[in-house]
């Protein structure tokens, strides 16, 4: 089995500054493996350890994503090897374009059974790339995956949906987007970090990949932070505790908090 972990080398939100108008300034943020992606690394490693599979990291983006630090940061998280597409033609590319390049790279890697990814990236957070990759490849794509284990020829996948947990028998190839809390990722230790420098890295040229031309153009017109909740300041008379509790529960339900 061959498992690809598609991840993003993204600005670290710890270094972000929120401007007075509510927009986020990431210009001084150092980059790191996007915050939700280590969950995908961990799921992939566990699946590989159970099946003897190979785990291949894959990331695409501008040339700046290919640094020794970026390579080691990914390879120290349980990958067997790394594949990169680093080209300034991808600077500022939208999710659809990045998904097309990821899909082309998955095809170039060949014989991939599972693509695992985080739910969304920490900087853009659109959450559409994994399923767009699935669409590009013509594979089954599942979001909100909380568990994946090998089961005979296929996989048993659990999805954490708003209505409850769904358990599915899935045939490969498949693209899975993990929930942010699917597993607690292992922290990379010194041995992992030192070993990372020894693992193979392959850089694919964008021009050599069969990527459909960019047909979609996207311009962000405006962004706004979510509206803050208004304080209701409702007081309940607690003379009768049972009635007050009932009123509190009713008010919370009405506000959508329960």
């Amino acid at each position: 089995m061959k498992i690809v972990v598609a991840y993003k080398w993204a600005p670290n939100p710890q270094d972000a500054k929120v401007r007075p108008d509510g927009t986020v300034d990431l210009s001084r943020a150092k980059s790191a493996v996007s915050e939700y992606d280590p969950v995908a690394f961990e799921l992939a490693r566990r699946l590989a350890d159970a099946t003897g599979a190979e785990v291949i990291g894959l990331t695409v983006g501008a040339a700046a994503i290919d640094t020794p630090l970026a390579r080691k940061a990914a390879l120290s998280r349980g990958l067997d090897r790394l594949v990169l597409v680093a080209d300034d033609a991808l600077a500022g590319a939208d999710g659809t374009r990045l998904a097309a390049v990821l899909a082309a790279a998955v095809t170039a890697i060949g014989e991939v059974d599972v693509v695992l990814a985080g739910d969304s990236s920490i900087d853009v957070a659109e959450g559409q790339v994994p399923l767009t990759v699935a669409g590009q490849l013509g594979w089954l794509g599942l979001s909100r995956v909380s568990s994946v284990v090998a089961d005979g020829e296929g996989l048993t996948v659990e999805r954490d949906l708003p209505g409850g947990v769904t358990v599915l028998a899935v045939q490969t190839p498949v693209v899975l987007a993990a929930t942010a809390d699917a597993v607690v990722p292992k922290v990379a230790g010194m041995k992992d970090i030192l070993a990372a420098a020894m693992k193979p890295v392959e850089v694919l040229a964008l021009a050599d990949l069969a990527v459909p031309g960019a047909q979609v153009s996207l311009t962000t017109l405006a962004t706004a932070r979510p509206a803050g909740g208004e304080r209701q300041a409702v007081l309940f008379d607690a003379a009768d505790p049972a009635t007050a509790a009932s009123q509190l529960v009713g008010a919370l339900r009405q506000a959508g908090a329960l």
Partner: protein
């Protein structure tokens, strides 16, 4: 001169940050401080992530690590507000790895791997601390056995430890330096009793009196060479002083960050108190002290890594770092005003814990004694 981090150091600190955020939040530390409990679960998490065996030789399952990286990690753990002394486990292991028998090595490394504190250092006595030659605890060897009698005091982590790394003297040897040997004594051995001492700081580490009353065990408990105990103990003192200095740096940085944040938020006379120059003066002087401690600690670690003889450097570094770090915490308390002394504030805990480092691991005054002698010798 390169002040930047290597890729490996940056990634390792990133991993440690993940672990600290997950396993060691302020609520956890505050609870340990309040209930006087050790950070056992955090230590286990550190070990599981491989941090616990950093610096150990590979043949013992460790990962070699330079002193600069070790102090960076120690500083980062303490910047979280935890008075943990990252790296002291390595010191404990080194005492045994260098001088212990195979059986002792196996036992101690096993305990370290499990996240336990393997031993407390039984050195200080009611009549002997900085003056180690006044030690009166005796070790009498006969017929393959050894009997200990005496009292140790202010022994850190005695209640958490399975063993006591005991320093005791042979009463028949006149030369005080050659009379002391090192022993690994089980805390549960017959005749060993402890009395917990209540103290106002270092709540996550217990401190005890230990009474040794005709404690008789096989002399295979001897660590290293009989009569070389003090030399063996001294061997790792330089690194211990450095780790303490890095601990002070992290705790003081934590106090500074809290004070600066508070100054930016606390409004008096219609504006944040950070706008007042008297507060700015405090914050500026605190920042200068932190920079000085950082430079001292990193340079001393670099000297260790490059086999530059430390001479007085370790003592100078420990003395300055412990004193300056406490001054930073003391000024942080002043910035907080009355809020700082209320129970449960982090700054009050940092202030308490930093005060202890002015005597723990060697007093300010003994550091002068060590460094001063060396300075005069170097210029004679």
């Amino acid at each position: 001169m390169d002040f930047g981090l290597t890729d490996e150091q940056e990634l390792l600190l990133g991993s440690l940050d993940e672990l600290l955020e997950r396993e060691c939040p302020e609520s956890y530390i505050a609870d340990l401080d309040l209930t006087h409990q050790p950070p056992t679960s955090f230590r286990k998490a550190l070990n599981e992530a491989g941090f616990g065996s950093l610096g150990f030789p590979e043949e013992f399952g460790g990962t070699p690590c330079d002193a600069v990286t070790m102090v960076l990690l120690a500083e980062r753990v303490c910047r979280q507000g935890l008075n943990n002394g990252f790296g002291l486990e390595l010191l404990q292991a080194m005492d045994i790895l260098e001088f212990g028998s195979d059986e002792q090595k196996k036992e101690i490394l096993g305990l370290l791997a499990a996240g336990d504190v393997p031993f407390a250092l039984g050195f200080t006595e009611p009549g002997a601390g900085s003056d180690n030659s006044a030690m009166s605890t005796t070790a009498v060897h006969y017929d393959g056995m050894v009997t200990f009698n005496g009292t140790k005091t202010l022994i850190t982590n005695a209640l958490q430890s399975k063993y006591l790394l005991l320093m005791a003297k042979n009463p028949e040897v006149e030369d005080k330096r050659k009379a002391i040997s090192m022993y690994l004594v089980p805390m549960h051995a017959q005749g060993v009793t402890t009395n917990r001492l209540d103290k106002i700081m270092w709540n996550i580490s217990d401190a005890c009196e230990i009474f040794l009353d005709d404690v008789t065990i096989p002399e295979s408990c001897l660590v290293g060479v009989k009569g070389n105990g003090f030399k063996q103990l001294m061997r790792n003192f330089e690194f211990e002083r450095l780790v303490i200095a890095a601990t002070c740096l992290g705790l003081a940085q934590c106090a500074f960050d809290d004070a600066a944040t508070y100054a930016a938020q606390r409004v008096q006379f219609g504006q944040p108190i950070g706008n007042f120059q008297l507060i700015q003066l405090k914050l500026t002087d605190m920042a200068i002290k932190l920079e000085n401690i950082r430079g001292f600690v990193y340079k001393t670690a670099w000297m260790l890594d490059n086999d530059v003889p430390l001479k007085s450097q370790g003592a100078l570094c420990k003395r300055y770092s412990a004193m300056a770090a406490f001054e930073v915490a003391d000024e942080a308390m002043q910035v907080f005003g009355g809020v700082g002394v209320t129970v449960g504030t982090r700054v009050s805990r940092l202030w308490r814990d930093l005060r202890g480092h002015r005597f723990g691991g060697g007093t300010d005054e003994i550091m002068v004694h060590i460094a001063g002698r060396q300075i005069v010798k170097d210029h004679s």
